[in-house]
């Protein structure tokens, strides 16, 4: 989005972003120091490093587990970490211009990245059949959203049971459903699975994860849910308001 702005950022601005970069050594560096560090690497070297980071993120994305900045630095950047933001800006540009993907930092505190599709749905013609897991994910996310952002664990399991998916039994397509939902989806940051305080016996609730917030269109989800019910999406006033608001935010 703002890579051009960032690239040509004034000194004070790049300093500011550097301060936000936190614990690493680069945080204390002035832009002139970065400038000097950059002179140690040839443009060919930097190009190669950018390509390596792109590939690293692509491979990591196969399992949809978010990529941590610490891992990028440790496994790929190594001594290039002094010019981390420069390399990442170019990585970001490569993803947008070459792959049509967008690298999003979903957690600016812990620096966690995910890839999302930049192309509008419909533009993409998917050749592969739908992944059953994303059907399941859709159901859970819909329940949470339609319930106003939080859904009790029991409610989710009971609804899934009606769809022949029992959290206690091995499912043909999802095998260990409980693990898929409370572990895999959670690690992929689609879902949050948290203990409800002061409950006896302990109860858990589901919320949307950071990835879901970015990767899903609430409006499209509401439209599909409405289509299933054969109703107008606007008949769920609150949800519709929420969905439209989040749509205009992005």
């Amino acid at each position: 989005m703002s890579q051009r702005k960032k690239a040509s950022a004034s000194q004070s601005k790049s300093q500011q972003t550097n301060v936000n970069e936190d614990e690493m050594t680069l945080s204390q560096m002035t832009s002139s120091q970065v400038q000097r560090a950059r002179e140690n690497f040839s443009s060919v070297q930097i190009d190669r490093k950018v390509a390596e980071v792109v590939q690293f993120i692509l491979v990591k994305d196969q399992k949809k587990i978010p990529v941590r900045r610490a891992d990028i630095v440790k496994h790929v950047m190594k001594e290039y970490k002094v010019i981390y933001s420069e390399v990442m800006n170019r990585v970001r540009r490569t993803f947008e211009q070459v792959f049509g993907l967008k690298l999003e930092e979903i957690d600016t505190k812990n620096h966690i990245y995910i890839l999302i599709n930049k192309l509008e749905a419909g533009e993409t013609v998917s050749m592969c059949p739908g992944n059953p897991k994303s059907g399941l994910l859709f159901v859970i996310l819909s329940i949470i959203f339609m319930k106003g952002g939080v859904a009790k664990e029991n409610l989710v399991w009971n609804t899934l049971k009606k769809l022949r998916v029992d959290s206690g039994e091995k499912h043909d397509e999802f095998s260990d459903v409980k693990k898929l939902v409370t572990d895999e989806f959670v690690r992929q940051k689609y879902l949050e699975y948290v203990k409800i305080p002061h409950t006896e016996p302990v109860e858990f609730e589901f919320r949307w994860g950071l990835r879901a917030d970015i990767e899903l269109s609430k409006l499209k989800l509401l439209e599909f849910v409405a289509e299933l019910h054969d109703q107008d999406p606007q008949s769920w006033t609150q949800q519709f308001r929420e969905a439209s608001a989040s749509e205009s935010r992005t």
Binding site: Q62, N117, G130, K133, I143, M146, L216, F224, L228
Partner: protein, 322 residues
Amino acid sequence: MGDEDEIGGGPSGVSDEEDDPARRREIRSKYRDLINSVQQNREDMLNPANNKLIDVLEEANRLFASVKQAREAALDAQLLVLATDLGKEKASQLHAEGSAFDPSAFAEHLLSFMGLNRLEEEDDDQDGHLNGFLPQDAWQKLAKRSEVCFKTAPSFHYMLGSFLAEPPPPRQRVERQRKAPSKEAKRIMPTQLKKMEESQQEATEKEVERILACLQKYFADDPEEPISYYEFVIDPSSFSRTVENIFHTSFLIRDGLAKISLDKEGLPCIGPVEEGEIETGGAADRNQCVISISQASWKELIEAFDIKEALIPAPKTLSQES
């Protein structure tokens, strides 16, 4: 909720009627039943169509009328927590504007979308759920349709599969696993054998030392009188013990701890070698000979020497020795 203080005295001043344990137990039991039924019928009670929550609260009010002590009141409070939680949830179902979302209805619509085969339509309404079956591609169909909601990046795959083909690694793993235990076994076998040899050798050494001690004792008793070799080694009660004694004694000779000499009648005598003698007796003075003994010659020797008992006592059982 243990019943630990069943007899525990209530605060002073309570009348007998209020402190009646049976009455109190009855109240507690009723409260627990009520709590259980709320926990178990939770989903039911949440249904906007009924007023079960109010029934529960009224029942609790009735029970509370006879509550006089803290334990029962605590149960009442516990029920109140549950009821409040339910109330909160029921309130969240209330939407001031727009329609409410009913997950069961949602599930029904999803089932229709996924192409549920309803086997017995009429039964469907009676026991609620789990009639009919979903076609194989049900979840795929749903996933395909819901794809538009996701801006998921297509995951990256090598066009013709990657070079990191999956099958080989597991095969290697299997081989490694097979090799590992066999190595272990090989390593264990020799150590076991060594240990056995060691223990046997130790047993022999101990026996040799024991016999040397015997010999030295007899020698010390009477240093002038030579000890007849045959009288020393022969055990008149056991031929095998005799053979063993000969075998062990031969070690004493070999190691230069004992010596055999012939007395004036030409019969072999045995005696320990004193420390001073070890120095002077060089290897040159050594002679070797083979002693053979058979059952018959053993009997003959016993008779000839008139041996009544063994000079070397039979060892205590092996297990004690080792």
